[in-house]
């Protein structure tokens, strides 16, 4: 592990981020907002830090696997810090931890906010919130690989550590081409959605910011009431469609754009779509039974149910209705959907439909194995067999995911939050959803929490976005241990000492007078 390498790559990412900040500065200046200087200052600061880090260090060779993991985690923390600076400089958030929370919530596409009053915020700040999500959705490292090829960063290690799903697929032989193609699809879909919003009557600013946060499954909105602020079924359905598209594997979109649509052949897609449709069906039934939809008819019940189901299961977190007024059963259904999340290779969070499906198939196989102990039962994902190594990794992932969720909820209750709030906040953070249940529900925010609660949730958001392993591996001693000639010599010496001690002890343990 060479820290020079880590700092070098983080420097590159910060330079890329400065470009985003520069764009925001320009927009803030156009709107004549009071936050121009805050963004201008952040741009310069980030660019200077990035350049210094980049110039004073260098890559002597390609990154190792271990360095890849460390770099990705470090870059995300660094970006989170840099993204928090404008909030502080603009004076919209006073607590540094709260600003860091807002920034990480943006980059991880969680969408949990500390602001209670959003619409009065300057335009620059609003754009920056949306932009952090848009960058984070496809991944800042992937962005770095795609747009900054001349900087010479690459390698599967980085890609693998950031892209959601058990195993990233390649669209092209080279990773850089793959990353670029993914960004084209992502950018293209964002543009189409923004145009549809314009058709639906939104202002340019709101159309673009909402498109940014929909395709990234982020869920930040420049409006207090989120999508519920627009009383237009068209806008709601457009949002539903694009949230759904963002929750689908981008490789499938890429194939469809190349006139080779493969949705029907993909078993994960079938599973994901089936779950979303079934959940919607149940939700509609639950809502039609309630009095406030009884008078409105079928369409609003269907639209609100579909919206909330898609929003939560793709981990976007937009709301078109206050689901906390719905029945407890409906709320629990949403909580369950938080765990699944979208498909692998999408911008959504959660455990991913593929992992749930594979675990389900594996469960069935184990059931069968109880009856046929000597059976050889491969786990099928469509027409492909899941390799044992992948299967074990998925199981470990599920264990860590559930473990972190439970642990996070436990810590939240220790910090004095009630059970529903703690469970909701923990699930919404690790799943990168945003709104949770209880005091952090659909129409609430996270601004009232203390800094310790914020830090716990920040950790969960990062762990969830980077798919657990990338973050947890930082806590494994082997990542930091040196394996050089020196240390081996040291190890040998230590072993000799131990053996000598052991011998010594044995001799002393022999009863006196019986030594041979």
């Amino acid at each position: 592990m060479r820290f020079r390498h880590l700092i070098h790559v983080v420097g590159i990412i910060l330079i890329a981020l400065a470009a985003g900040l520069l764009l925001t500065t320009a927009v803030a200046w156009l709107y004549g907002g009071p936050d121009v200087w805050a963004f201008a200052g952040s741009t310069v600061g980030t660019a200077v830090v990035g350049l210094v880090a980049f110039k004073t260090t260098g890559l002597e060779r390609d990154l190792t696997v271990r360095e890849g993991y460390a770099v990705v985690s470090m870059a995300w923390v660094a970006v989170g810090v840099a993204g928090a600076v404008p909030y502080l400089l603009a004076g919209v958030i006073s607590s540094p931890v709260a600003a860091f929370f807002e920034s990480v919530s943006g980059f991880t596409t969680t969408g949990a906010t500390v602001f209670s009053e959003i619409e009065t915020l300057p335009r620059g700040v609003l754009l920056w919130r949306a932009l952090t999500q848009w960058f984070g959705g496809m991944g800042i490292i992937v962005l770095g690989i795609a747009i900054l090829p001349f900087l010479g960063v690459g390698g599967m290690q980085l890609f693998r550590a950031e892209v959601p799903g058990p195993k990233p697929e390649r669209l092209a032989p080279r990773i850089r081409q793959t990353a670029t193609l993914l960004w084209y699809v992502y950018g293209g879909l964002t543009a189409v959605q923004a145009i549809l919003y314009l058709v639906g009557g939104l202002s340019l600013f709101e159309a673009v910011t909402h498109a940014f946060t929909t395709l990234s499954t982020g869920g930040f909105s420049p409006r207090n009431a989120s999508i519920a602020a627009y009383d237009s079924p068209f806008v709601h359905y457009v949002t539903i469609l694009f949230m759904y598209l963002a929750g689908v594997n981008f490789t499938l979109h890429f194939q469809a754009l190349n006139r080779r649509p493969g949705y029907w052949k993909d078993s994960e897609w079938k599973f994901f779509t089936f779950v979303v449709l079934m959940a919607t069906l149940i939700m509609v039934a639950l809502n039609l039974a309630r009095s406030d939809y009884a008078g409105l008819g079928f369409e609003p019940a269907l639209r609100d149910s579909l919206f909330q189901v898609v929003s939560i299961s793709t981990t976007t977190g937009f709301v078109s209705a206050d689901y906390e007024k719905w029945t407890v059963g409906a709320q629990f259904l949403l909580l369950m959907l938080m765990f699944m999340g979208g498909m692998a290779g999408s911008t959504a969070g959660g455990m991913k439909a593929m992992r749930i499906y594979v675990l389900f198939r594996q469960g069935l196989a184990e059931l069968k194995r109880s009856l046929h102990p000597q059976a050889v039962l491969p786990t099928w994902l469509g027409k492909k067999v899941v390799r044992d190594a992948t299967l074990l990794r998925i199981m470990a992932f599920a264990l860590f995911f559930i473990g972190l969720f439970v642990g996070g909820a436990f810590v939240m209750t220790l910090l004095g939050h009630d059970l529903v709030t703690a469970v909701g906040a923990s699930a919404a953070s690790i799943g990168n959803i945003g709104p949770g249940l209880g005091d952090v529900g659909a129409v609430d925010n996270f601004g009232w929490m203390g800094p310790v609660s914020h830090l716990v949730l920040i950790f969960l958001m990062l762990a969830g976005r980077l798919e657990i392993f990338t973050v947890l591996v930082l806590f494994h001693p082997d990542l930091w241990r040196r394996y050089g000639r020196k240390s081996r010599a040291r190890g040998d010496a230590a072993r000799q000492v131990r053996q000598a001690e052991f011998k010594d002890k044995r001799i002393r343990l022999t009863p006196p007078g019986r030594e041979t």
Partner: protein
């Protein structure tokens, strides 16, 4: 006619033996010098030791003026190269034994036409298909189709409780006049008899009957069998034959369990055959067989690479109560033993290969030749030529050699169950049965 056979394994040896008995000039190329020497000593053939894919060796064997070139080693690559070389050197017809299903796939780059091979044979697939056919019948030890499937030959064991036990054929003919079948051979204690009206059925007889295909299912009850439906099959051994069989079973909705003792092979099989249940274990492990319900299966098929394992696991399965037990035997000298020890039927990929090649050789008026397993008799399908000596004579008046008979006559697509008054006409197809040494004489009379 000069014939070159590459490979003196079981298939090559048997082919060389049959062809040289028929009076052909046979040259055998075999890479193992010892085996080459052995075949040269045992048969009236010229044996050459050398690689069958090597051009000088093929030249030495006189491939350029061979009327027929048969590449039947157990290696696909050698057979292909040998056939390609042979056809370039001038061999008139080439036959290759190829086990890889890819060569038979539709649109394959290496198809039969592209390779210029006259006939490709896949012994494993043929054995699997034969097994599947046999599994479909509760009693059959042998099922052969003639005349595009209009007529079938069925071989079965007569059970002690069979209604026909103790009756002679003339009595049965009167009693069962609404059934159309001809008893063509009865094998008892290793002796094969081509029956006459006075022949009797006894318990334990191995009987061969011919009947229109639509009526074949009426025969097993006469021999004491209860009808059954094939629902569950257990296959011991994950060989290539097993894969083909499992595919046939899956396509017809029959549940299939495969047992193999190699873990990696099990993994391959389970990925190749999503519908089959693959078990890792020994096919002769009684505990495993019982746990997996061998007593309830409709069919048990032993398809491992070793004949001894196949025999043993078949016997175990039969003892446990499996209804129909079929064993694969590579060494077809064991086949006559099989039905005597209680295994219901045997298949042999190599014998299927030999039969297919012999059928290909007897073109002209002879459409199909079948060597029956377990007994000493042959079946031949012949088209009556304009000069046949039997033309127009009632069968009663034909001077049949002892040990031969007419099993069925097919005229304009109609199946005629032959009686003494029937006469054959030109363009009829008849199915003849005879002891092997009678057959050439019979063929001459009819062809």
């Amino acid at each position: 006619m000069k014939i070159v056979v590459v490979g003196a394994g079981a298939v090559g040896f048997h082919l060389a033996e049959r062809l040289s008995e028929e009076g052909q000039d046979v040259v055998v190329v075999e890479h193992d010098p010892q085996r080459a020497e052995k075949i040269g000593d045992q048969l009236d053939v010229l044996a050459i030791a050398g690689n069958g894919a090597s051009v000088p060796v093929l030249e030495e064997a006189g491939t350029k003026d061979a009327a027929l070139f048969l590449a039947v080693t157990n290696r696909d690559e050698v057979n292909i190269i040998a056939c390609l070389a042979a056809s370039m050197m001038g061999a008139a017809n080439t036959v290759a034994r190829l086990s890889d299903p890819e060569f038979y796939a539709e649109g394959s780059v290496l198809s039969r036409e592209r390779l210029g091979i006259e006939l490709m044979i896949n012994p494993e697939r043929e054995a699997a298909w034969e097994t599947y056919q046999l599994l479909g019948s509760e009693a059959a030890t042998e099922l052969v189709r003639f005349a595009e499937g209009r007529v079938q030959l069925i071989g079965l064991r007569v059970l002690p409780e069979a209604p026909v036990v103790g009756q002679n054929l003339a009595e049965l003919d009167r009693e069962l006049s609404d059934l159309h079948f001809t008893t063509v051979a009865i094998s008892r204690d290793g002796e094969t008899e081509i029956p006459t009206g006075a022949s009797r059925f006894e318990a334990g007889d191995h009987a061969f009957l011919i009947s229109p295909s639509s009526e074949v299912h009426k025969i097993p009850p006469l021999a004491g069998y209860e009808p059954y439906r094939l629902r569950r099959v257990m296959v011991a051994g994950g060989s290539r034959e097993s894969v083909y069989l499992a595919e046939y079973l899956a396509r017809n909705g029959v549940a299939c369990t495969i047992i193999d003792k190699d873990r990696a092979r099990c993994r391959e099989l389970s990925e190749q055959l999503p519908d089959a249940l693959v078990l890792h274990g020994d096919a002769t492990d009684l505990e495993l067989l019982e746990m997996e319900g061998v007593s309830d299966v409709d069919g048990f098929v032993a398809f491992t690479d070793r004949d001894s394992t196949n025999m043993l696991s078949s016997l175990l399965a039969k003892a446990c109560g499996a209804r129909k037990v079929i064993s694969l035997l590579h060494n077809f000298q064991y086949i006559p033993l099989v039905t005597r020890v209680g295994i219901d039927a045997a298949v042999s990929p190599r014998l299927s290969a030999v039969n297919t090649i012999l059928r290909y050789l007897h073109h002209g008026n002879v459409a199909r030749v079948v060597t029956l397993k377990g007994i000493d008799a042959e079946a031949v399908e012949v088209r009556i030529g304009p000069t046949a000596s039997v033309l127009g004579k009632p069968l009663r008046k034909i001077d049949f050699p002892e040990g031969g008979l007419v099993g069925s006559i097919i005229r304009d697509g109609e199946v005629i169950n032959p009686r003494g008054d029937d006469a054959v006409q030109e363009d009829d197809r008849v199915i003849l049965f005879a002891l092997p040494h009678i057959m050439p004489k019979l063929e001459r009379m009819f062809a």
